[in-house]
Amino acid sequence: MPKAMGAVKQAVPAEIGGERDVAMAGSRAAGAVASTRKILPIVEGVVLLAALLAPLLLQDYLTVFATRVIILALFALSFDLVWGYAGIMSFGQALFFGSAGYGVALLARDLDITNIFLVLPAGTLIGLAFALLLGGFLLLGRHPSSVIFVSLGTLTGSYAADRLARGWYYLGGQNGIPSIAPMSLGSYEFTEGPAFYYLVLGILVVVYLLCRFLVRSQFGLALAGLRENEQRIAFFGYKVQHLKAIIFTIGGAVAGLAGSLYAFHEGFVWPNMVGVVVSTQVVLYVLFGGSGTLIGAVIGAVIVEGVSFWLSDNYRDIWPIILGLLLLLVILFRPLGLISFVLGERERVGSFGARSKENVKEKRNAP
C-alpha cells in the first residue's frame, strides 16, 4: 500500500474535488484560493478560544452542561472521520460509544478501577475492538459490501446491542448502571466542574489535532478520494476495503474514548447509550455542522446541543419537530452543513506537499 501511495501522490490532489474547482478556476485566481485557505485556522482558533473561556463566563451548572457538549463533540468527531472522510455511513456509532461506557462502568463497579490512566485507555480499546470486529465483518471480504448493507448493518448492530443491554441483568437491564464512582488520579477525584471541563477539552484538542494530522496526511487524501469517487481510488491500486476498515476502527476508538468520559461524567450508563437514539443523534450533529470538516462536527454538536438546551425549557414539545425540519432543510439545501457558509469547498479536502501559488496554478492547468 505505501508503494501505491507514493506512485499516485502527484495525481491525487489534482483529481480530488478538482472537477468542481476547475469550473471556477477561470474567475478565481490562485491568489484568491490562497486567501480562502486561511479561514479554517481562524474558525478553529475562535472555537478553541471560546471553549477555553467558557467556564470563566458560565455559571456552574452550565459548565457541567458544557462538559457534556465537549464530550459529545468528541463523539461527533469519531463519526465525522468515518462518514465525512471515508464516506462510510455508520448508523451505529453509539455501539462503540456505549459499549465503552458500559465497559468502564463495569470496571468501576466490579473491580474498583477508576484510575484515569487505566479507564480511558480501556474505554478506547473497547471501542477499538468492537469497531474492528464489526467493521472487519461488514467491510472486509471477498465481495465489497454495498453502502446500504454497511449502514443497515451498523444500525442493526446498535439496535441489537440496545436490546441486549436492556435484557441483560448483569448490565443492569432497563436501568443501566447507576452511580459510577468518579474517575480518579491518585487521590484526586474528577467530579463535575471546571477541572473535568478542562480535562475533557484538553483531550478533545489532542484528539482533534491527531485527527487533523491524519486527514491531512496521504492517508487522509486517499480517504477523501474514497468519499468522492471510490472506484477511481480503487483503480489507483488502493485496497479500498482496508482503508475503510482502518478508519472505521480509528473512529470506533475515538467513540470509545468519548463514551468512557461520558460514563464518568454523567455517573451512570443506560441502554440508550448504545442504541439507535444516540447513533442518530451523532449523525445529526455532523450533518448540521458540516461533514468532512473536523471543526464542522464540533460546531454541529455545540449548536444542536446548545439550541436544544435553550429551547427545551420553553418549547419542549416542538423542539424535536423543529430539529427535524432544520435537518431536512440542511440535507436539501446545504448538504455540506452550516460550516459551508464560511468555509470553501477546497478546504474540506486535505492539502499535500508544497503549496506555492505556482504549484497550485500548474496543477490546475494540467489536463
Partner: protein, 285 residues
C-alpha cells in the same frame, strides 16, 4: 397439543404482521432503491388515524379504511416535494427520510403525549376450536395479510400499471422512451408503499396500542427482512419478512427472549453478508 397449536398461531400471526409492515417498505426499496426511514412513521400515522376515528366516536373500521388513503396521499405529496430529490443518492435518501420520519413522529408525539392509547378490536372475542381459543382479530389480520399480498402480486404481475411500474424499475430511460411517465410512476409507487404502511398501522393498532415509537419498533426489523429477502423484487422482501417474523416469534419459545431477540439480528446480518443478493435474487415481481 393445544399449547403447540397456540404457539403456532402466535408465530403465524406475528409473521403476518411483519409481512404486512414489510410489504410497503419492500415495494419502495425494490422498485425505487430507497430505504425509507419514514416508513415506520407511516405505520404510526395509519395507527393514529384509526385512533382518531375511534376517539371521535366513529366505527373503528372507518378509520381503518381511511388510513391507507390518507397516508398514501401524504406519501404522494412527500414524494413530489422531497423524496424526488434523493433518487441519485441512496444514503442521502436515508437521511432525508429519517428527518421526515422524525418530524412526523414528534408531531404525533405532541398530539398524543407520551401515552399508550388503546384502540379496541373491531372484531372482538375469540374463535374456539375445541378447547383452544385464538384471537379473532389476529386471525383476521392473517386473512387480510394474505389477501393484500395476493392483491399486490396480481397488481404488479397482471395489470398494465404493474407492468409500467416494473418497466420503470428495470430500465428508466427505456421506459421513458416508451412513453411511460417515470416521475408519475415513482410518485404512484411511493404512494402505494405508503398506503400499505398506513393499512398495516391501522390493522395492528388494536394489538400493540398506539404510542409514538410504534413505527420505530418495526422499522429495523423491516429493513433486515428486506435485505434478507433480497432487494429488487416484490416476492423477495415478503419472503424475508416471513422468515424474520417467524424466527422472531418462534425463537423466544425455545430460548431466553433476550438472546433470541439479538440472535435473529446477528443471524440475519451474517446471512446477508454471505448472500448479499438475499433469499430470492433477481428483479421483477
Amino acid at each position: 397439543m393445544a399449547n403447540a397449536f397456540v404457539a403456532a398461531f402466535e408465530i403465524l400471526s406475528f409473521g403476518a404482521i411483519i409481512v404486512l409492515i414489510v410489504l410497503g417498505l419492500g415495494i419502495i426499496a425494490s422498485m425505487m432503491g430507497i430505504f425509507n426511514f419514514a416508513q415506520g412513521e407511516f405505520v404510526l400515522l395509519g395507527a393514529y388515524i384509526t385512533y382518531l376515528a375511534y376517539a371521535k366516536g366513529l366505527p373503528i373500521w372507518t378509520g381503518m379504511v381511511a388510513a391507507p388513503f390518507v397516508v398514501g396521499g401524504l406519501g404522494f405529496v412527500l414524494e413530489a416535494l422531497i423524496i424526488r430529490r434523493f433518487y441519485a443518492a441512496p444514503i442521502v435518501a436515508m437521511l432525508g427520510t429519517y428527518a421526515l420520519g422524525l418530524i412526523i413522529r414528534e408531531s404525533v408525539r405532541g398530539l398524543i403525549g407520551g401515552f399508550y392509547l388503546t384502540v379496541p378490536e373491531p372484531i372482538g372475542g375469540s374463535i374456539d376450536i375445541g378447547a383452544m381459543h385464538i384471537s379473532a382479530w389476529r386471525f383476521t389480520i392473517i386473512v387480510i395479510t394474505l389477501l393484500v399480498m395476493a392483491g399486490c402480486y396480481l397488481l404488479l404481475s397482471r395489470t398494465s400499471f404493474g407492468l409500467r411500474m416494473r418497466a420503470t424499475l428495470e430500465n428508466p430511460s427505456l421506459a421513458r422512451a416508451s412513453g411511460i411517465s417515470t416521475p408519475l410512476m415513482y410518485g404512484a409507487t411511493f404512494a402505494f408503499g405508503s398506503a400499505l404502511a398506513g393499512l398495516a398501522g391501522a390493522l395492528i393498532v388494536p394489538v400493540f396500542s398506539l404510542y409514538a415509537d410504534l413505527g420505530l419498533r418495526f422499522l429495523i426489523q423491516g429493513f433486515v427482512a428486506v435485505m434478507v429477502g433480497g432487494v429488487g423484487s416484490f416476492i423477495g422482501p415478503v419472503a424475508g419478512a416471513g422468515v424474520i417474523g417467524t424466527l422472531s416469534a418462534a425463537l423466544p419459545w425455545i430460548m431466553a427472549p433476550v438472546v433470541a431477540d439479538v440472535l435473529v439480528f446477528v443471524l440475519a446480518i451474517v446471512f446477508i453478508k454471505f448472500r448479499p443478493q438475499g433469499l430470492i435474487a433477481g428483479k421483477g415481481v
